[in-house]
């Protein structure tokens, strides 16, 4: 049996055993999609469901997104098939008290970042079901790779433009937006029951797909994720119009790292830099 096959067996065994033993009542993973080159989320509640689990380079959806859904919250304990980006999102949800860490288990997948769609990736499954606290030390070494210049190549390119060209660039890109809110819907940290975009008394964000509405939506979303975005890229992959959303999110990530020395997704006990009042804040205006 090839290496991937053995890992798949191990993945299915872990999920099956977790359900059989009663350790969890739900395992969220991936099954084959309806079209080639796509994977669909799979919600396993019976041990036999585990046999349909797969993992490959097409499994890019951030499954942590489902943890805040009422149907999932109804389960006492849930296991996630979690590559690193999924675990980082769980960290964010724990920080913002959306998820109780004692009720989440991870079937941790170790693989490279899934930035684009590619079928062949080398991946391994960690031994046993892990709690978040058990998982975090195994990913701590990845923290330093979050800020490598390669990750910010697109950001650097936008930064190098004049303000005039930057405006043109974003005007052109945002012009494509059709306000489908797919970016919001796949984002594990966009969990607000009533998004600001749906607030209509008063309506700060124009719902129409005009330039004003598109600028307002995409910029407000980037601001709402500043210091929180865990850089999984789900929004950009979900966008049917190919907006370069990660240019904005990564720029925010860079600024937050520079100003606050903070990278989201590693410490569930860390203070969120943009919403934490500190008496020793270096900015004078807050004292």
């Amino acid at each position: 049996m090839p290496a991937e096959g053995r890992q798949l067996e191990k993945l299915r065994h872990l999920a099956r055993h977790a359900l059989e033993s009663g350790a969890v009542s739900l395992v969220i993973g991936f099954a084959e999609g309806t079209v080639p080159g796509r994977a669909a989320p799979l919600f396993c509640t019976a041990p036999a469901d585990a046999d349909r689990l797969i993992f490959d380079g097409y499994c890019t959806l951030n499954l942590a997104n489902y943890l805040t859904r009422p149907e999932v919250r109804a389960h006492q304990t849930v296991a996630l098939v979690a590559r690193h980006a999924v675990a980082k999102a769980v960290v964010g949800l724990v920080q913002e008290s959306q998820v109780d860490p004692t009720r989440v288990r991870l079937i941790a997948i170790h693989c490279p970042d899934l930035d684009g769609l590619q079928q062949d990736v080398a991946w391994t499954v960690a031994d046993g079901l892990q709690t978040l606290d058990e998982f975090l030390p195994t990913a701590a070494h990845l923290h330093d790779q979050e800020l490598t210049p390669e990750r910010f190549a697109a950001v650097a390119q936008v930064e190098s433009k004049s303000s005039h060209d930057r405006w043109d660039h974003f005007a052109r890109e945002f012009d494509k937006c059709i306000k489908c809110y797919a970016c919001r819907n796949v984002c594990p940290l966009c969990y607000c029951e009533r998004c600001i975009a749906d607030k209509n008394q008063p309506q700060w964000i124009d719902t129409s797909s005009t330039q004003r509405g598109n600028f307002a939506w995409n910029i407000v979303r980037a601001f709402h994720l500043a210091g929180r975005c865990i850089d999984c890229g789900a929004c950009e992959r979900a966008c049917p119009m190919d907006l370069p959303l990660m240019e904005l999110n990564r720029k925010m990530k860079k600024v937050v790292a520079e100003r606050f020395g903070y990278v989201a997704g590693y410490d569930p006990k860390a203070d969120l830099p943009l919403v934490t009042f500190k008496k020793d804040d270096p900015e004078e205006f807050i004292k």
Partner: protein, 717 residues
């Protein structure tokens, strides 16, 4: 249906000169929802206010906009007028057409157009205003005074004498502060201790004052009328309830050569000690740094109670059950108070900051405070002026003024204010004690403003023969057991070289270390030198930006004893005024949570600077927890709006500045239609009725981008 009344004020010439006020009123009459609009020369005057009151009744107004000065100036005036006419005061708003308009523009047409815009914005806001009710909170009838120097003592006594409880917290083992170290005080030369110690004793004996020495403020929460303060009571290792201050312990203590803080290092003390004989409380404490038993315990890493070393103080203690208590530990005590007086005082610029004068290097270069101890009858030399190096009498003395003060390079750009007086006093005291000796004073200017102050300096020069030299000393070095000063006399334009026995440095006053940390706990601002900042430099000199927190003495900046005592009395009267009331009305400008929308992400809880937001559990009828939401404590909320900004789904709103109100204001601003010839300036801005860039609203065009020139214009205003 809104019936808004608009009142446009000329403010005499202040607004009327630049803004066409009748035209503004005329424009207001055409605004939707405006039922009545007038202009008048002085709206804040009695006839002006009467005009408002009559109009409210006559035109059945549902809201007011007064277009005049800043709300900081007259909002209370006009809101009170509204209330007198039976209109909820929070239905009255002000449009600032003075500071924001007439004072900053010259072109009458432009200023008038802008005044109309500012007014329209506020009319739109008032249309969305709602009647608000002041939040009434009870007041804790007790004050906290931080610092037991003369400022804190005076404030505590004044408050307590008026019948209110006071807790006086002092960091040191005794109250008294710097004043207790002084020999005589200018300009009358009365003995400092003789006038201070009766007040110290009065504090200790006052039934309404609770004195906590060896104590520091650890944390402060709450708000005016209802502060909760955590005080750390440091271990003293002596039971105050048992000790009688007999002295048996410190007579037996074998560690006798510790430099005394009270004598500024010129005298010695033991490890178990009373800082000075008149201390209040006159009971010792154990200095853990130097105590042999504590040292032994630290070295062995064992609790001090398990060490068997020394223990002579405990053995010598004649009290049954012993007053010495090695098992003592720091205690945290939480106290409730309604008002706080900060009186943390000053220190002098550390010697390390003045290397050019050899302070700390040459033993006979002393600070002003050290000289006070030498001149004091209770000091280490019993009042004789002797050299610290060899104990020989001083024949020739030099005093240098402005050491650090008025010197931005030393971080003290300010004048320390008291030095001109105390150096005259030092030279004078020296001449009184040594009739044959010579005293030289190097000064920059003599600043002796104050009752009998200049006379005092003249007396030093003319009657006591002190030699005043106008000029700076560049450096000091030792030669043959004497100190040599290089300096200049700028009045005769000559270099001066002087050989003296002792030099006194009038070092700058600087804030107490750690006062900034305390200020942050209290929400009090401080300036770049670290002095605490008053609410208004002229009209609110003892108040701070934090309601219920007052300042007394040198924590606010350099000042002398009479000024400190007067200010302490001022702060006390503010505290008495506050504590004399049963309840306090607080502005209802507070945050409120829409529980239907709140996701309990806790951003508001973390971002609240006054910890006013907590958690509320929503349960069903069976008591089962459904979910958690954020909840604002109306008594604690200061209405800063930080939580509103942090809330992503906009589940929090600020009463008086609601989302709907601000949105209406922005909309009104974006509507440029009735300003003739007004075109968008190309700077992108957002707003439903505004433009995104480059085009006027009328065209609705969104097809061009802002020019870099437009951005430049924005930068340069």
């Amino acid at each position: 249906m809104s019936r808004i009344g608009v009142f446009v004020c000329w403010c005499g010439e202040n607004i009327g000169r630049t803004v066409d006020c009748p035209a503004v009123a005329e424009a207001a009459r055409r605004m939707p929802g405006v039922a009545h609009a007038v202009d008048y020369k002085y709206m804040c005057s009695d006839p002006g206010q009467q005009m408002i009151i009559q109009a409210i009744a006559e035109h059945r107004l549902t809201g007011l906009v007064v277009a005049s000065c800043s709300p900081r100036m007259h909002e209370p005036t006009f809101r009170k007028a509204a209330a007198r006419a039976g209109l909820n005061p929070y239905l009255c708003e002000m449009a600032n057409i003075r500071e924001h308009c007439s004072w900053v523009h010259e072109d009458r047409a432009v200023a008038t157009a802008k005044a109309i815009e500012l007014l329209r914005v506020m009319v739109e806001k008032v249309r969305h205003n709602e009647a608000l009710k002041a939040v009434s909170v009870p007041i804790t009838d007790r004050a906290l005074v931080i610092g037991g120097g003369i400022a804190g003592i005076q404030a505590a006594l004044d408050i307590a004498d008026a019948g209110h409880d006071v807790i006086l917290v002092e960091r040191a083992p005794s109250i008294g502060g710097h004043m207790s170290q002084l020999s005589e005080t200018f300009p009358t030369l009365d003995c400092s201790q003789c006038i201070l110690t009766p007040k110290m004793v009065e504090v200790a004996q006052h039934p309404r004052i609770r004195l906590l020495t060896c104590a520091e403020v650890e944390a402060v929460s709450g708000y005016v009328g209802n502060f909760e303060v955590t005080v750390r009571r440091k271990a003293r290792y002596v039971r105050l309830d048992r000790c009688t201050g007999c002295g048996a312990c410190w007579n037996e203590c074998p560690v006798k050569k510790i430099p005394s803080e009270f004598d500024e290092g010129l005298g010695l003390r033991t490890a178990v000690y009373v800082p000075f004989p008149q201390a209040v409380p006159n009971k010792p404490m154990i200095d853990t740094e130097n105590c042999l038993r504590h040292k032994d315990a630290r070295r062995k890493g064992i609790p001090v109670t398990e060490s068997k070393v020394c223990g002579k103080c405990e053995a010598a203690c004649p009290i049954p059950g012993k007053a010495i208590n090695f098992a003592d530990a720091d205690e945290l005590e939480t106290v409730q108070v309604g008002a706080i007086v900060v009186a943390t005082g000053f220190q002098t610029l550390p010697a390390a900051a003045i290397p050019e004068y050899g302070a700390g290097r040459f033993k006979d270069v002393v600070t002003g405070l050290q000289f006070e101890r030498l001149a004091s009858a209770s000091g280490p030399t019993s009042g004789e002026i002797r050299r610290p190096s060899d104990g020989r009498p001083v024949e020739r003395l030099a005093v240098i003024a402005c050491v650090g003060s008025r010197d931005p390079a030393k971080g003290c750009a300010y004048c320390s204010k008291i030095c001109c007086m105390y150096i005259a006093k030092h030279a004078m005291l020296f001449r009184h004690k040594n009739h044959h000796g010579a005293a030289h004073v190097f000064y920059m200017d003599i600043r002796a403003g104050g009752k009998d102050y200049d006379e005092f300096v003249r007396r030093a020069i003319e009657e006591d023969g002190v030699d005043y030299l106008r000029g700076r000393v560049s450096r000091i070095f030792e030669r043959g057991g004497k100190l040599v000063l290089f300096g200049s006399d700028t009045l005769v334009g000559e270099k001066v070289e002087l050989e003296v026995d002792m030099v006194v440095l009038a070092s700058a006053m600087v804030p107490q270390p750690g006062v900034q940390a305390l200020a942050q706990k209290l929400g009090v601002a401080y300036d770049q030198s670290g002095w605490l900042t008053e609410a208004h430099p002229k009209l609110r000199p003892v108040e701070t930006a934090a309601a219920g927190v007052f300042l007394a003495g040198t924590c606010q900046g350099p000042r002398d004893i009479p000024e400190t005592v007067a200010q302490a009395g001022g702060a006390a009267s503010k505290v008495i005024g506050l504590l004399s009331r049963d309840t306090l009305d607080r502005e209802p400008i507070i945050a409120r949570v829409d529980e239907r929308v709140c996701d309990y992400c806790t951003a508001c809880i973390k971002t609240c600077p006054v910890k006013a937001i907590g958690t509320k559990e929503l349960k069903n009828r069976q008591g089962v927890l459904l979910r958690r939401v954020a909840e604002v404590n109306a008594g604690l909320c200061i209405g800063c709006g930080t939580c509103v900004a942090a809330c992503r789904p906009k589940a929090i709103d600020l009463a008086g500045f609601t989302d709907a109100q601000l949105f209406a204001e922005v909309r009104a601003l974006g509507d440029f239609n009735d300003i003739e010839g007004r075109e968008c300036d190309g700077v992108p801005h957002f707003g439903p009725a505004g433009c995104i860039a480059g085009q006027s609203v009328k065209s609705g065009g969104l097809d061009s981008h802002p020019t870099d020139a437009g951005m430049e214009r924005e930068k340069h205003g």
